[in-house]
Symmetry: C2
């Protein structure tokens, strides 16, 4: 095991922190980013080091923060497939539409990546109890990995969070609380309780390592596409960690000289009922204001305020991407259409991203032959009750037709 | 693409069939097995051919029946992880207890393997409409792959099949019917309707290719354990196709000279409320009688009669394995304990298999240091409502503790 971990750095004020200590954000309140000794890595190895290792995100250990292999907490995360979407591609007039299916991760979502790396590193640095607010899926993932690591886990979520995710957290033995309101309200409760009890707070971007797990999506995409990156990556954006992570991966690969040529246009998708980053993008701002009255069936992107908003907006703008929003009606229709046409039961957030492919194609941001990659962040079977589809009961003696 | 497909053979009467034609069972009613030209493969290649290919079951294309790559219908199936179970291993006194997590397949179950190969081959041979009875998960998987292939799919299942699987089938656009009774009752309805409408019947072992998909679990285990096979493989058994398939994989690897040394003891687990194969095993029979009044929370193994029973019993006996049953109470307790101790939300069928590890250890069939592999056949999140676990509501101003 060799990690090239070097330091923690504030992307706003530049202050650095010792990575061998448990730390949350910078003194200035900004999320910290992990920096690696890329120059040494570049001298000591080439991109072929990863090719022959087993599937999964820990193959990228050089660019991950865990220093001792025995601290790795794994459930088989990462290594998700990139699948052609011929059905929807035909409907949208896109000849090379692809979907990376993050629903094939443990706990059924991409949250497993952040949880695997975040919990592993928290364990390595001696944390005993972790606490987080969640829209549902992050809580379930962190509860699973904490159980596996033998750490106490406290989760707070909106009382209308998806029932499956509630039950998952409890099943994994996490102390699970329902809060009236949104994830931001759960966040206040967790912050206060963590201070009182000395729990390590692992809310989105409140610790530096979750993003390193999410980053591996970017490393995989680079491998999936054999180094020739897609023209655009479309990402359903709540807290935005996945997008920040992928962009960070591309920067690191560039710095290593392992990736050349243009980077993908990064496209943010939010729901019309909760689109703080889309609004900030349209208004030319660098930070997003709190989105009042957030409401969408896509619970994972019902995030009215994101600590990493400025990093998301920066990645979108530097890449020549854009930010778009879709209605709940479009999400539901697309969700059903993807299942029928491409045989994939994705999640509502993923459906928003698929629908956005049509929007950016119509805008001319991508051409009909461009390879376009949509991120499906979770398995649809967790929310199948939202589809409200019923089988038909056969009467005695009746036959299927 | 090169498949070494040779012929279809009846394991009972020895009659062979042309594999280029759509065929169900042998004239004598027995399931047909696919045979490959292993002698030529052995001359032309070694086991290293698979090592560098991408993850997933299609890496084993030489031992799969599809002859033209363009007919492959894939959603990223296979390549599931083998994970140590340190928590339960400690409780059971087993130092090397492992779980292969088939819940990380598309549609959340190992049924995706059979569906991917079965649907691909049906498409290759010109089928237009497929029909099957199901306990739930096979129907969902075949519905997904059929949607992707553009084939009509008809599914019939017991009216009390898991609601998630019902909704999945409908979402994928399958004609989905609920039948009063068990999978055997659904089977009668499908058989009759298929004859009337000319649909290709793809019930368990009613066509030869599903087993080839399941076989890849065996090929993966051989790769996962670097050729040194576990002492025992514990398999939750409904129709038994997975066990038959793994055993077939080991035979083929042996014939190729790519696997040597003792094979794993194959252990069948069934629920006490539906244990036809366990009963036949105890009574020294080669065929299992219909199990009256089948009842268990583990819907996937609520199969009162299996066409491949004699193949299952033969594999168990030739391997020096055994057949055991567990109660629904044990299933439920083990299910919860695995989530808390090892951070895995497995399915009830998988929980039965974990529990069986303790039983065969107590019997002395495996020693405390022996590597033992449990098959978890699906993702627990599909049935999380059965766990009946509730989160706690926080009152206004209350904090987590």
């Amino acid at each position: 095991m060799k990690s090239y971990l070097k330091t923690l750095e504030c992307p706003r004020c530049g202050k650095t922190y010792d990575p061998s200590k448990l730390v949350n954000t910078c003194e200035c309140g900004t999320p910290l980013l992990v920096r690696y000794d890329l120059e040494t890595l570049k001298k000591e190895a080439g991109p072929e080091i990863w090719k022959t290792r087993r599937r999964g995100l820990w193959r990228y250990k050089e660019l991950l923060p865990v220093t001792d292999e025995k601290n790795i907490v794994s459930l088989g995360e990462g290594g998700t497939p990139v699948l052609p979407m011929k059905g929807m591609g035909k409907v949208y007039g896109l000849k090379n539409l692809y979907l990376k299916d993050e629903g094939l991760n443990p706990t059924g979502t991409f949250k497993a990546r952040g949880a695997s790396v975040g919990v592993s590193r928290a364990k390595e640095l001696g944390a005993k109890a972790l606490a987080m607010p969640t829209a549902g899926n992050a809580g379930a993932a962190w509860a699973a990995y904490s159980a596996r690591a033998g750490l106490k886990m406290v989760v707070a979520m909106p009382e209308d969070a998806p029932v499956t995710t509630q039950a998952e957290c409890v099943a994994y033995g996490a102390s699970t609380y329902l809060v009236r309101g949104l994830i931001s309200d759960a966040g206040r409760v967790v912050r206060e309780a963590s201070q009182r009890h000395g729990w390590f707070e692992v809310a989105t971007l409140k610790e530096p390592y979750r993003i390193e797990g999410k980053k591996t999506m970017g490393l995989e995409i680079w491998e999936d596409f054999d180094g020739k990156m897609p023209a655009a990556i479309i990402y359903p954006t709540g807290g935005g960690v996945g997008l920040i992570g992928m962009w960070k991966a591309f920067s690191e690969l560039k710095a290593l000289g392992w990736l050349s040529g243009p980077l993908p246009k990064m496209v943010v998708v939010q729901a019309e009922g909760c689109a703080p980053i889309v609004r900030a993008y349209r208004e030319g701002k660098n930070r997003a204001e709190f989105f009042q009255g957030a409401c969408t069936i896509a619970a994972g992107i019902r995030v009215p305020s994101a600590l990493g908003d400025f990093l998301v907006l920066d990645a979108v703008r530097s890449s020549g991407g854009t930010c778009v929003s879709v209605s709940d009606g479009e999400i539901l229709d697309t969700w059903k259409e993807v299942a029928r046409r491409d045989g994939m039961l994705i999640c509502p957030e993923g459906a928003a991203a698929v629908r956005a492919a049509k929007i950016v194609a119509d805008m001319g941001l991508i051409g009909p032959d461009d390879p376009v990659l949509v991120l499906n962040t979770g398995a649809g079977m967790k929310y199948v009750e939202l589809l409200n589809e019923k089988a038909r009961k056969l009467e005695e003696g009746e036959l299927p037709e």
